[in-house]
């Protein structure tokens, strides 16, 4: 029966250890960062409160990933959302954070309701809440209920992970929280949902029908594309990073979905390989997204605004933050020597190996998914060129940017740790893959002895595919060597003199920061290319002094949030309309109330036989 005092309340298998590692890798730098970040912002009491909440938040996440009983998992899961709600609403002064907190807590709670329903159905069939007991009992579960439970888990964890139709809360909640908190939320909290999916769907429920993997991959591709397109259109740094988290969650889910797909086609080694790709991108994303949020936070602290179009030229005023941001941007757009490239390359490679070994039709499907992933990679590169270029390069566009100063030392150390991690995770890819292989093997229950995993000769022995080579250290080495060669060419051949003068302004005399390309301009080609989805709104107005002379010209454009407009708003208005209609039931006249009592009595007597 339900014995809650199960001794093995906690279970530390490789999956949980991996996630614990991810949690602590991101939380420690954020903790270091938070000292500097919070100093000027809030009163001393609030800073203490912030630190306590931060500690409780990290602790609750650690417990979520290491507990082995469904009920306790649920409790810590809700506590995690509760504390993160307090953190999102931490800056109680502006109304936006209250609205963000509301949307966030309501969405996560609805997600948890689905998870509760799934646990209950599981309990119904297995009469126990313990993971291991459920796992054994799940083998004999009828496939119909398995599908329902899978869908419930998908919706429940999908809301927390921010898969597209359910991602509405993410761009509201993450920017409102203090930056070091949103770096943890974006870097790690979303991953606990992925942990939930892997733990409950892959290892406990056991995948037996292939449409699961396909469904997850479709959702993942959609989230990738939608996430990155909205990120491109966004002008607020932290909201842009939140949308790019939606995109990266899509990439991670591609890996996980692929693993499920291969399990159902019982190609174990490919499943392990794609799960490795998914997990590797998970930890990479945790690191570079954490770094990017910290940099965004320090930009916010130094300038006081998060709006890209008001910033510019910060590289001269905040050199170190600029370098860290550059590293983060390079990592997220998957450029070679850094860790983002490795995980993206692994995911693509997983798609290719899959395409080799899978029957006809799904080859095309996998190919198209790979193509969409490549498209997202390209768009991500464009997006982060926009962010870095507009915030840090060229001339400052407003007084905010002019008055910027380099941030406190503790903040810079926090960021430096993450940059070092990025480089390490890039170069030591081969070693890390071996570790991840153990984790993936333990999750899928496949012994991975037979696979040779040195990244240099990635030969998946039992699979019929020639060996593919990738070695990041060699790449980095050759890049440096040729860098030095080209620098030498630059130094020796030409004349040494270089003159500093004004940028080429076609001869006009007036050249100021208004000539620089703005974020809206930069994203204009993308807005037109994807206008079928973004439905851009554009309004130009000529303010005329007289009929002939135009004094000034206003240009206003914004993109409509399609999902919010066509799914969430109608549902909300419907609910509130019915509620208002119900309110008319209590108009205040006592006679009506007595009538209610009398009518219920009559109806009950008349329909007595039905009960």
């Amino acid at each position: 029966m339900l014995n809650l005092l199960a001794k093995n309340l906690f279970l530390f298998d490789p999956l949980s250890l991996f996630f614990l590692a991810v949690i602590f890798i991101v939380s420690l730098p954020s903790l270091v960062y938070s000292f500097g970040y919070l100093k000027g912002e809030y009163s001393f009491a609030k800073i203490i409160l912030a630190q306590i909440l931060l500690f409780a938040f990290v602790l609750s996440m650690a417990l979520v990933v290491s507990v082995s009983n469904c009920l306790i998992f649920l409790i810590f899961w809700e506590i995690m959302s509760l504390i993160s709600y307090f953190l999102v609403v931490f800056d109680t002064k502006n109304a936006r954070s209250i609205q963000a907190g509301l949307i966030y807590i309501v969405m996560t709670h609805i997600g948890t309701a689905f998870i509760i329903a799934a646990f209950m159905i599981l309990y119904n069939h297995t009469h126990s809440f313990d993971f291991l007991a459920i796992k054994n009992a799940c083998k004999i579960l009828p496939s119909g209920t398995k599908d329902i439970i899978f869908l419930l888990f998908l919706i429940g964890f999908g809301t927390k992970a921010g898969i597209v139709p359910l991602h509405i809360w993410l761009p509201y909640a993450h920017p409102q929280a203090p930056s070091h908190i949103s770096s943890i939320m974006s870097g790690v909290m979303i991953k606990t949902a992925i942990y939930g999916l892997i733990r409950f769907v892959i290892s406990i429920l056991g995948v037996n029908s292939s449409w699961w993997g396909v469904l997850i991959m479709i959702l993942a591709v959609i989230s990738c594309l939608v996430g990155i397109i909205y990120a491109l259109m966004e002008h607020d740094i932290k909201r842009l990073l939140a949308y790019s988290s939606v995109e990266n969650i899509g990439i991670i889910l591609l890996g996980v979905g692929l693993a499920m797909f291969f399990i159902s086609l019982n190609l174990p080694y490919l499943a392990v390989f794609s799960l490795i790709a998914g997990l590797y991108h998970l930890i990479n994303h945790a690191i570079f997204k954490g770094l990017l949020f910290l940099c965004a936070g320090s930009v916010y602290k130094a300038t006081g605004t998060r709006h890209i179009e008001k910033l510019g030229g910060l590289i001269k005023k905040m050199p170190q933050t600029a370098v860290y941001f550059l590293f983060g941007a390079m990592a997220i757009s998957a450029l070679p020597p850094l860790n983002g490239f490795v995980s993206e390359w692994l995911t693509l490679q997983a798609f290719f190996l899959g395409a080799f070994n899978v029957a006809g039709g799904s080859k095309i499907f996998l190919g198209i998914c790979a193509a969409m992933l490549a498209l997202t990679g390209g768009l991500a590169a464009a997006c982060f060129v926009k962010v870095f270029g507009l915030t840090f390069l060229a001339k400052p566009r407003s007084h905010y940017a002019e008055s910027a100063k380099e941030v406190a030392l503790s903040m810079r150390i926090g960021m430096l740790i993450l940059v070092v991690l990025i480089v390490i995770f890039g170069l030591a890819a081969a070693l890390i893959i071996k570790l991840l292989a153990k984790v993936a093997g333990s999750v899928l229950g496949i012994d991975i002895g037979a696979m040779s995993f040195s990244l240099n000769n990635l030969t998946l022995s039992p699979q019929i595919a020639k060996s593919v080579y990738l070695s990041i250290p060699a790449l980095a080495l050759w890049l440096i060597v040729f860098g030095i060669i080209s620098f030498v060419i630059y130094r020796i051949f030409g004349k040494a003199k270089s003159v500093i003068s004004k940028t080429w302004d076609c001869g006009y005399y007036k050249f100021d920061s208004r000539n620089e390309y703005t974020a809206t301009a930069f994203s204009k080609p993308f807005r037109i290319a994807f206008s079928f989805f973004l439905l851009p709104y554009r309004k130009t107005q000529k303010i005329r002094e007289s009929f002939y002379h135009i004094k000034s010209f206003t240009y206003e454009t914004h993109t409509t949030k399609v999902i919010k407009k066509y799914i969430y708003d109608p549902v909300l208005t419907l609910v509130f309309k019915t509620a208002k209609f119900m309110r008319r039931m209590q108009p205040g006249s006592i006679h009506l109330y007595l009538g209610y009592v009398f009518v219920t009595l009559l109806l009950l007597i008349i329909f007595m036989r039905q009960f």
Partner: protein
């Protein structure tokens, strides 16, 4: 003999339903309580239980003398128009009363096994008196009509109790009477407060609390 008294009780209830003015309402309530007293007294005679006598006496003092006197005092004190404020005119309410007599007769026959018709008759009248009380509360505007509606329902219950199971245990009867009396007192007190605050006792206008 009991049939006649029951019939008089039924007529007094009809009178109440069609009453337009408060004093007419109280007068027919007094007749109804009188019939009730006679019925309980006859049952007491047939079953020779001493307690029933006390209960009948109590009923007479309370329902026939004391409460109507209190109600009349209220009307005189608050000097408000005698009109009962009917929602539906007397003809329709009479029609309604007839319909409900038939309905309660069906309901009573459903409950009582078909053989003894007298029991079904009394049960039917009891249910009808209860629904008449309910009618007075729902379809009349003034607060007084609601008090009287409550008392009429309580009368119906008392009729049901005494005829059907020979009355409830003695101590419970006393407690119920005491309760009815206290509730009438409290409602009277509230009627004064309403009158002081709202200068009218038309309960239908009391609708400040909405939603």
């Amino acid at each position: 003999m009991q049939g006649i008294i029951l019939f008089v009780l039924l007529v007094s209830t009809y009178l109440m339903v069609i009453a337009k003015r408060t004093s007419a309402l109280i007068r027919s309530f007094r007749y109804q309580s009188l019939c009730l007293f006679v019925i309980t007294f006859s049952i007491a005679l047939t079953q020779r239980e001493p307690e029933l006598y006390i209960v009948a006496g109590l009923l007479f003092i309370l329902k026939v003398l004391l409460i109507p006197y209190l109600l009349y005092r209220i009307i005189r004190r608050i000097k408000v128009s005698e009109d009962l404020g009917l929602f539906i005119n007397p003809q329709l309410s009479l029609l309604w009363a007839l319909a409900f007599t038939y309905l309660s007769w069906i309901f009573a026959s459903y409950i009582v096994s078909a053989n003894n018709t007298i029991l079904t008759g009394t049960l039917a009248i009891a249910f009808f008196v209860v629904s008449a009380g309910m009618f007075l509360m729902v379809f009349r505007m003034t607060a007084l009509s609601q008090i009287i509606g409550l008392l009429v329902m309580e009368n119906g219950l008392f009729l049901l109790a005494s005829t059907v199971s020979g009355g409830m245990p003695f101590f419970v009867e006393i407690a119920i009477f005491f309760d009815v009396f206290v509730s009438v007192l409290i409602m009277g007190f509230f009627v004064y407060r309403i009158n002081k605050l709202f200068t009218h006792i038309d309960v239908n206008k009391l609708s400040r609390l909405k939603g």
